[in-house]
């Protein structure tokens, strides 16, 4: 059973979205699909969390959006990372690594 990504620790979904968008601009569906794919179906992003998160990140200036033409030939909204988003991603990734290493240590040795 896949875990809904939005049920993970708070802020994790933002981190996943930012990391996914750091490669290339994508539309919302592609973001959720990519996360699901890369995590080998272990993480599933619910639309009910994805779109509010995307719009929130855009409000915060971490990503930008632009209407483009999708692979279907249909208008789609593409999200792209900003410089501020990149800095945020670097910070958050470092925090996450530290956190997961710490949890790992506790799980192994406590």
């Amino acid at each position: 059973m896949p875990l809904p990504a939005d049920e993970l620790l708070q802020g994790t979904l933002d981190l996943l979205i930012l990391r996914t968008l750091s490669r290339e601009p994508m539309h919302g569906w592609a973001v959720s699909h990519r996360i699901q794919e890369i995590s080998k179906d272990a993480l599933r992003v619910n639309q009910g969390s994805l779109y509010p998160a995307l719009h929130r990140l855009e409000e915060e200036g971490l990503i930008e959006s632009e209407w483009g033409v999708s692979e279907l030939g249909r208008r789609a909204k593409f999200y792209e990372m900003t410089a501020a988003g990149r800095r945020q991603l670097a910070r958050e990734s470092a925090t996450w690594r530290k956190f997961s290493e710490a949890v790992q240590l506790v799980l192994q040795f406590a």
Binding site: M1, Q47, H55
Partner: protein, 516 residues
């Protein structure tokens, strides 16, 4: 930089909300289509792929709202909707509404009326130049009691010896017969020494005020109040040539005072007087006169008091048999005018605040009874996914709409009360002519109304926040809501209101629960 971008975004979406909503709908429907195609590519036929995608999509409406909330969009639209909804729900309960509006109107109206009186009489400075520098000088009698007036010889001593004042003047009032345009009337007049208007710091609206040689040249002149100029003379553009007959003499009108000045109270005609007539100067016991002065630049009222104490002691030593010249009080003009009524007005303020509190308490009780009915509606709306802030705002809008309606009725009431106080002789107040429902008063009434409305709703919200609203649901809805209830540890740590930061729809929560 980030903040600027945010503001621009916000402005953009606020200015073109429809377009933003359309974009959002398109974005979501694109997602749905992509998901459908994805399922098709996995081997489902189009119809079941679409059905599956739609099911996965879940409460689209709900997170659509959430996105709009994120963008601060729903606010502007919902406020109008809330107001309309509030008005509709009040129309459905006309009895409650009428009682509530009348209660509020009484509370806010009396408070506003009291405020407009207190503001005009106590708070607002007198309409003179630097009014805090104007003082009155009054004597003391042989028992040490303050007397409101002074005799001409004592005043002459004060004027001759004091250095604290840039102008010092004497006046006495009398009611005299005045003839204008063939009609005779009794008019309140004042004989004033030529420095009178310099002490008050008054600039004329027309012509001039009085000058020192007005009392020496011998031509009778008069300065008229703005009210007299309007009422008796018909507001001419220039000074009239025809003389004004006061008693048996003809006076030339040389100036008109600006509007809004009312000192001494009710006086319409100001006649220059040197106060040199023997019957005035003969006795120090003829205390029919009043003294005012303007503090010289750089002189504090304490310094003036100290100088006047010395002078008064000297005057008393020179005239030990004088009944009234045994001391002197230096008091600011405003204090002198309103001091006698200040404690009554404070009492009035306390009384109307009590009335307002009683009105609020009554209304809070009525609200409580109504809240029992509303509780069910609110519980349903919560279950349907209305956010907490959304509901609070709805209640706030309803309450403020009610209190502002009451406030508007209250202003009408205040206006009537103020007229009653200012224009009838039932209540004698200094500066009564200045009492009016003006901009300051309206702003006060508005702030009061909004404050009362918010306060009422804050009580309701706090009361509600402590109580699980699920319990009040009708049975059917209640069951669904219970089924949908998220596991406690995850979702309802803060209150009984399902928190949306955690669950975006009922389905999410139940699946999350079963996943565990």
């Amino acid at each position: 930089m980030r903040i600027i971008r945010k503001v621009i975004h916000r402005m953009h979406t606020l200015v073109r909300p429809r377009r933003f909503e359309r974009d959002l709908d398109e974005e979501l429907s694109f997602h749905l289509e992509m998901q459908t195609r994805w399922h098709e590519s996995q081997g489902l036929d189009r119809q079941s792929a679409h059905a599956l995608a739609a099911r996965e999509f879940g409460g689209a409406i709900r997170f659509r709202e959430e996105v709009l909330d994120t963008r601060g969009l729903t606010w502007a639209q919902d406020i109008t909707r809330d107001i309309r909804f509030a008005l509709r729900s009040y129309r459905r309960a006309p009895g409650f509404t009428a009682v509530a509006v009348i209660t509020l109107a009484l509370g806010i109206g009396t408070t506003t009326a009291a405020f407009s009186i207190i503001d005009a009489v106590l708070i607002r400075p007198l309409a003179y130049e630097k009014p805090e520098r104007i003082v009155t000088l009054t004597g003391r009698d042989s028992l040490g009691r303050e007397i409101p007036s002074v005799s001409v010889p004592t005043f002459d001593d004060w004027r001759g010896q004091s250095r604290s004042f840039s102008a010092i003047a004497l006046y006495g009032t009398a009611r005299r017969a005045v003839i204008t345009a063939g009609e005779a009337a009794h008019v309140e007049t004042a004989n004033v020494s030529p420095d009178f208007f310099r002490a008050l710091g008054v600039q004329p609206a027309l012509g001039r005020t009085l000058m020192p040689d007005d009392v020496t040249k011998g031509e009778p002149v008069v300065v008229v109040s703005h009210g007299f100029w309007a009422r008796a003379l018909g507001s001419p553009r220039t000074l009239p040539d025809a003389p004004l007959r006061i008693g048996t003499d003809a006076y030339r009108i040389v100036g008109v005072l600006p509007p809004g000045l009312e000192y001494p109270a009710g006086v319409d005609l100001f006649v220059p007087d040197a106060f040199g007539a023997p019957w005035r100067t003969a006795s120090r016991n003829n205390i029919n006169f009043n003294a005012i002065a303007r503090l010289a630049d750089g002189v504090t009222i304490e310094q003036a008091r100290s100088e006047m104490r010395t002078i008064a002691a000297r005057v008393h030593a020179a005239h030990p048999d004088d009944l009234y010249g045994r001391g002197v009080s230096v008091t600011t003009l405003q204090r002198r005018m309103v001091g006698p009524v200040e404690s009554y007005l404070r009492l009035l303020a306390g009384a109307v605040i009590a009335v307002l509190l009683v009105a609020c308490a009554n209304l809070a009780n009525a609200n409580l009874a109504r809240g029992a009915v509303r509780g069910r509606e609110i519980a349903i709306r919560t279950a349907l996914g209305a956010g907490r802030w959304r509901l609070v705002r709805q209640l706030l809008v309803e309450s403020v709409a009610l209190s502002v309606s009451g406030g508007i009725a209250g202003v009408v009431l205040a206006w009537a009360l103020v007229r009653l106080v200012a224009q009838t002789s039932a209540v004698e107040l200094p500066r009564a002519g200045e009492i009016a429902v003006n901009g300051t008063v309206l702003a006060f009434a508005l702030a009061l109304s909004v404050g009362v409305g918010s306060w009422l709703v804050s009580r309701r919200c706090f009361r509600r926040a402590g109580r699980p609203s699920r319990q009040r649901l009708p049975p059917a809805v209640g069951r669904q809501a219970r089924d949908a209830a998220p596991p406690r540890a995850m979702c309802s740590s803060e209150s009984s209101w399902p928190s949306r930061s955690c669950c975006s729809s009922a389905r999410d929560c139940s699946s999350a629960a079963s996943a565990r």
